[in-house]
């Protein structure tokens, strides 16, 4: 009987130590070389080379905030508006609150022809959106884990504390921690679903017609230019239904669009 109890306690600890032993940058050493080559080319002003170095890593399926950010910078330097916006957006998807990426994206957006006015948003939902969008789902998940560990630690102390005063303090600080952690976990789930369903795209062709229906002969509703960010609503064969921040909806050729 006693052995089982011990295993139950030790297993999470073993797991935790194993996970903590794995470096967070799991693949960092694999792409370090290519990444630094790209950086060197960038510093030398060879933006074309930098792009090819970075892009090689992206094509291999590596994802990193710094990789996307640097690639976007290189594209920006060469005046490739659409790719630079695309990669800034990708970088911000990993680190939504990064000030440098936000600043550079703003500069890149200045070169976009279309200035699409925002649909007015309810204050409360704006506030909620700003909270939820400030961190990625992974970042929220990390916070939920940190809090639940604290809660567990408080719980353990609670069990073995002798005095009732100590027990009371630990109980009333441990329960809110659990509650907060669960809330943040829900936030993370919410953010994750937003990341999955609210996919956005960047217009890649210099200009494209937005049509009323997914067919070539459909009526042209309006036109968008390179670099514009649109929300992807639906995809049908070669066509994508998009939505603009001001609520306009239309269909466009999927070829002229790249998902973030």
């Amino acid at each position: 009987m006693k052995q089982y109890t011990d295993i139950l306690i030790r297993l999470p600890l073993i797991c935790l130590s194993l996970i903590l032993l794995i470096p967070i940058g799991l693949y960092a050493h694999e792409i370090e070389g290519g990444f630094q080559k790209g950086n060197q080319a960038y510093k030398d002003g060879k933006f074309d080379d930098a792009i090819s170095h970075y892009t090689t890593l992206v094509v291999q399926g590596y994802e990193s905030f710094e990789l996307y950010y640097n690639l976007a910078n290189a594209h920006y330097k060469l005046g490739h508006i659409a790719p630079s916006i695309l990669y800034y957006e990708k970088a911000l998807k990993i680190e939504p609150s990064n000030a440098d990426a936000q600043f550079n994206l703003k500069l890149a957006n200045l070169k976009v022809v279309d200035k699409i006015p925002q649909k007015p948003v309810f204050v409360l939902s704006k506030w909620w959106n700003s909270i939820i969008s400030s961190k990625s789902s992974d970042q929220w998940a990390t916070w939920a884990i940190i809090l639940i560990w604290f809660a567990a630690a408080f719980g353990g102390l609670f069990l073995y504390s002798e005095t009732s005063r100590m027990k009371r303090i630990l109980f009333f600080s441990g329960i809110p921690l659990v509650f907060l952690s669960v809330c943040i976990l829900l936030l993370s789930i919410q953010k994750r679903s937003i990341e999955h369903t609210d996919s956005y795209g960047i217009i890649y062709s210099t200009n494209t017609y937005i049509k009323s229906a997914p067919e070539q002969d459909a009526k042209d509703l309006f036109m968008l230019h390179e670099g514009g960010k649109v929300k992807i609503r639906e995809q049908l064969d070669e066509w994508t239904q998009i939505e603009l921040p001001d609520g306009k909806v239309g269909w466009m050729s999927s070829k002229a669009l790249k998902g973030i």
């Binding site: 109890t5 999470p12 935790l16 996970i19 940058g25 960092a28 960038y42 590596y62 994750r192 200009n207």
Partner: protein
């Protein structure tokens, strides 16, 4: 007329016989004329075959009615050939008096020949028509008041105007042609003018100019007439309903052939009497025509129909389809064909907002000479592309009503794609909100520098959230907590069980010890015996009262047992029993009754105490 020319030639011929070669003469026939009468002036050069145009003086006081008619004559007389060229004018005096016609000159073979001035005497018009004996005065002249009453009738019979329209039932906007014709027989117009220009009310009219009257023989109502078109117009009805093509009012002066009133003077006259002419002022008009104008059908009317009626072709063109930003492109829209070109409107092209479109230059080119209005109407649009890209220019549609088919036709222009290269010119937006202030501030700035170190790298699709390690990390503290909780519970429970067991087995344990003591007693080991008995009693009490052996003392046992409601006699028995055993340990001789009595007493005591404790616990639980 030919008749008289013959006479002139005869005269000239006579003259030639007397004149030498290369002379230039002028002659008036007659030299005395009545007011309103016509006479002829002939300039003749003889003896020359190659001459230029003579320099004829102006006929100030006369009206030139005709001429010059040129005549050439070659004659042989006395074996000599003589030739002459004459220029004849028909003149009419303006007023009475004696007038001079100045000399005429002509250049003949480096020489300038000159005629003598002519003197013409103009007198009152003769009372009677000139007799037929003077053939040089062909037209009898009479003032209207002196005309016989039947002259007007005669004119009416022989002169009239008619209007013809080619269609009397048309659609609104459909072109129709109106022709006004005059008919004349046995008479000639000396003057003909419009009394009033026709007003085409309800029509848009395009006049076809008539340079000169072109008389052609035409049979009308069984009679031979000369007819000529005096006016022709193409009309476009501008509204539906019954419209009137107005009549044409004409004013004229007519020479009409009249039968002489005079009875023939002699039989000779009967044969040689010539027709006589009278002049009459005559105003006449054509009839007006009613035209039924049908409205254009509403069924099948295209949405973009703009009033074009006729038959047209439609074309659009670009001067180039590839250009750079700010380099203008011209789009031409052209409608060609027959119909109301003047009033139709061309379709307007639609350009994306990335183009600046300037007002079009329009031009109409059409003519009505061929009996219908045809030509083209075009508009040139100058557009300046502002942003690079591939732009589609919407195809234009042009709709018109074809009256011959009675339905609407729609023509489409082809699609055009404009390829624009170059730098974008800011400012063209789908819903421009203008550049914001903060944006302007940012314009001069550069992007922030690249990151030099990687913080975390993952493979695509390997999100932390939802991954096994995430669940492990999130759930392991829960497991840890509940594991700890369970372990603590278990320990507590175990601890509790030990006490219960001890309590339950207290009597058993005591009896076991007492049995050991009995063994010692039988072996005569007195010391071991008492020792064992004391341990049995103390052990029993320790287990039963859940007190550690170390804490046992007579005082706290008495206290606890009293609490449990144990009788003082039983407590006295315990004290006695303990005293007996302790005394027996240190001074065995002082013990009464020996080991047997102590053994039985201790057995009895534990049994009694057990009963008493059970009873008191029962009573406790009952109360």
């Amino acid at each position: 007329m030919n008749r008289y020319i013959f006479v002139y030639i005869l005269y000239i011929g006579l003259a030639l016989t007397t004149l030498e070669a290369q002379t230039f003469t002028a002659k008036a026939t007659p030299s005395t004329v009545g007011l309103g009468q016509r006479f002829k002036v002939t300039f003749t050069v003889s003896g020359a075959t190659q001459v230029g145009r003579p320099n004829i003086p102006s006929f100030d006081n006369f009206v030139a009615l005709g001429g010059p008619s040129q005549s050439q004559n070659v004659a042989f007389s006395n074996g000599q050939m003589s030739s002459s060229i004459g220029w004849t004018y028909v003149l009419q005096p303006k007023k009475k008096g004696t007038f001079t016609i100045k000399s005429a000159t002509i250049k003949v073979a480096d020489k300038t020949l000159k005629t003598d001035p002519l003197t013409i005497e103009v007198v009152d018009a003769p009372q009677k028509p000139q007799s037929n004996n003077r053939n040089v005065n062909p037209y009898a002249n009479q003032t209207p008041d002196q005309q016989p009453t039947d002259v007007k009738e005669l004119v009416k019979e022989n002169v009239f105007a008619k209007a013809f329209v080619n269609k009397s039932n048309v659609y609104q906007g459909e072109q129709l042609t109106v022709i006004y014709k005059i008919y004349i027989r046995a008479a000639e117009f000396s003057s003909l003018e419009l009394e009033e220009a026709p007003k085409y009310e309800g029509f848009w009219a395009e006049d076809i100019s008539i340079d000169q009257l072109n008389y052609t023989p035409e049979t009308y109502d069984g009679k031979q007439y000369y007819s000529a078109i005096v006016k022709k117009a193409i009309l476009f009805p501008q509204k539906s309903g019954e419209l009137t093509v107005p009549s044409l009012k004409l004013k004229s002066e007519v020479y009409v052939k009249v039968q002489s009133n005079n009875r023939p003077r002699n039989p000779f006259d009967l044969f040689f009497s010539r027709p006589q002419y009278a002049t009459a002022e005559y105003s006449f008009a054509s009839a007006s025509h009613k035209i039924n104008v049908k409205p254009l059908p509403t069924t099948g009317k295209p949405a973009n129909f703009s009033g074009a009626v006729g038959s047209f072709s439609f074309e659009t063109s670009f001067d180039k389809t590839e250009t750079e930003t700010t380099d203008p492109v011209t789009m031409t829209i052209k409608v060609k064909g027959k119909g109301n070109l003047k009033t139709l409107t061309l379709p307007e092209p639609f350009f994306p907002p990335d183009f600046e479109v300037y007002d079009p230059k329009t031009s109409d080119k059409y003519s009505a000479s061929s009996g219908s209005v045809q030509g083209s109407k075009s508009a040139d649009y100058l557009v300046v592309p502002m942003n690079p890209g591939e732009y589609k220019v919407e195809p234009l549609t042009f709709s018109y009503f074809d009256p011959s088919k009675g339905r609407y036709q729609t023509l489409n222009s082809p699609d055009y794609t404009l390829t624009i290269t170059g730098d974008p010119q800011q400012g063209s937006t789908i819903a421009s909100t203008g550049t914001q202030k903060e944006d302007v501030k940012l314009l001069g700035e550069d992007i922030r520098f690249i990151k030099s170190d990687l913080s975390s790298v993952r493979k695509k699709g390997e999100g932390f959230f939802g991954s096994p390690s995430f669940f492990l990390l999130y759930l392991s503290p829960l497991f840890l907590f509940f594991g700890l909780l369970w372990r603590k519970r278990k320990k507590d429970e175990e601890a509790k069980d030990v006490v219960g067991m001890k309590k339950r087995k207290a009597t058993q344990m005591a009896q076991k010890r007492l049995a050991t003591a009995q063994g010692h007693m039988q072996n005569g080991k007195e010391k071991e015996f008492y020792d064992e008995v004391i341990r049995a009693i103390w052990g029993y009490l320790s287990d039963k009262l859940t007190i550690g052996q170390a804490e046992l003392s007579r005082d706290n046992i008495r206290e606890l047992l009293t609490q449990k409601g144990i009788q003082p006699t039983t407590l006295k028995r315990l004290t006695d029993l303990l005293d007996t055993c302790e005394i027996a340990l240190f001074a065995p001789t002082m013990v009464s009754g020996g080991m047997d009595a102590t053994y039985n007493e201790s057995l009895q005591f534990i049994s009694d105490l057990e009963d008493e404790i059970v009873q008191s616990e029962k009573g406790e639980s009952k109360s």
